[in-house]
Symmetry: D2
């Protein structure tokens, strides 16, 4: 399992006339969380694209439990729970500054070659940076 | 069942560096489709809010099958398949100008009083404008 | 002079907690107006990019006189008043459905080769499609 | 004079198919810079709105000298050079992580009462928090 926490401050541009964060704008918060999780592994999503691999979204689900408001300082908790293959799934929980759970979301991304536009296995450096979080060997180490 | 079709042209602002429509921007296409479905019933979502009832999103799911590109003329097919109660569910399919299915989505909204901020039954004019789409089918089932 | 009118309906996603259209979102309305003006000339901005020429923005000014609100049906009046060279300037006025002037804006774009990333003269088909609007011969027609 | 520097990381959602930050998205970067400048004075724009005063934009200008790219870490330098009255002007320069100047912008905002929707002088706590940045210079000028 890989876990990362990221803080995002709600911008005025992200609110709507209801006074809430517009439901479509959570997508970019989750993007920030994903990208910073990847950076925390010593990798760079930008570099991955520069090297010919992109990660488009295949599926996105979001349950909006409570609204986020302007200027809220959100904490986005992000998990990769399954070993990355051609598909890479992220689970998220977003909390506000009072620790209230606002949304529960998940996204499934696919590693795609920018040459062939076909799904592919994760690039070698991604496999190397993430495998220790999923290897059975990790459990053994505890013994 | 209520069905509506709406066309939306992809704006440059909605694309990302992948050259695709950013996955978060489909939310506003679906909003346009919902709002125009409601208008096609002789109602107005704006007026509903002016009269103290809003429809925040409780849940959103989207499967991205194929990308939409800049300047694509999308057709958003929208269905309300279940009789509206406190919850109002919309199902969507988005096709491009070649008739290719790009995304399949659903949103669940909740009627909320802007006075009490609590869920409520649909306003009277909404019930009246929509009941004919659901009642005949119900009667037939009883035969 | 080239003139074009375009209608745009304000989306919920484009409003902010003030209940107004967020000031940054006018940029995409102006983009729609520009692109449709170009389409009205029998050209396509998308095709222009496919053929290796892009039109990034060099300068943008906007005076916000009155707010636009959710669901407003805006009319964007767009002018090209000067013969296009390497620079292409658009002037805009946005009115709401009551004919009230909301904003006055201008953008200056630059024809840029996607190969060299350097400014260039307009592509041949752009020159041909626009020159009649600026030719002195036009004045003669009035005689 | 009041000066503040703020860092903003370019999100994928903010890029367009040109690979640049979409010209409309700078508006929200400038908003972040303004709001954090205000916070650095010990004030809160959110609180100001809660207390009945808002700051809509009256005018916005932006010169785009060089593009910002995905994942760039931008520095937004913000100045209030004139003592705030009913109008409040901010000047901005945005640089990328290599110190290259990307855009030069300015916005003029107006203090507006949320009760009367009319322009007003800045609220008392805003005057108090900002006057020291402008008064010394004024006194010197008088000598």
């Amino acid at each position: 399992m890989i876990y990362h926490e990221e803080k995002v401050r709600v911008r005025y541009s992200e609110t709507d006339k209801m006074g809430y964060v517009y439901y479509g704008n959570y997508a970019s918060y989750l993007e920030v969380a994903r990208v910073e999780l990847i950076r925390s592994l010593g990798l760079s999503y930008k570099k991955m694209e520069d090297e010919g691999v992109m990660l488009p979204i295949a599926e996105y689900k979001n349950k909006y439990l409570r609204p986020a408001y302007y200027d809220d300082l959100l904490t986005i908790k992000t998990w990769i729970r399954e070993k990355p293959g051609m598909k890479l799934r992220f689970d998220y929980e977003i909390e506000n500054q009072e620790g209230m759970l606002l949304t529960v979301a998940e996204t499934t991304l696919v590693f795609v070659s920018m040459e062939t536009f076909k799904p592919m296995q994760p690039p070698q450096n991604f496999i190397e940076a993430t495998q220790k979080y999923f290897e059975p060997a990790r459990r053994e180490r505890k013994n």
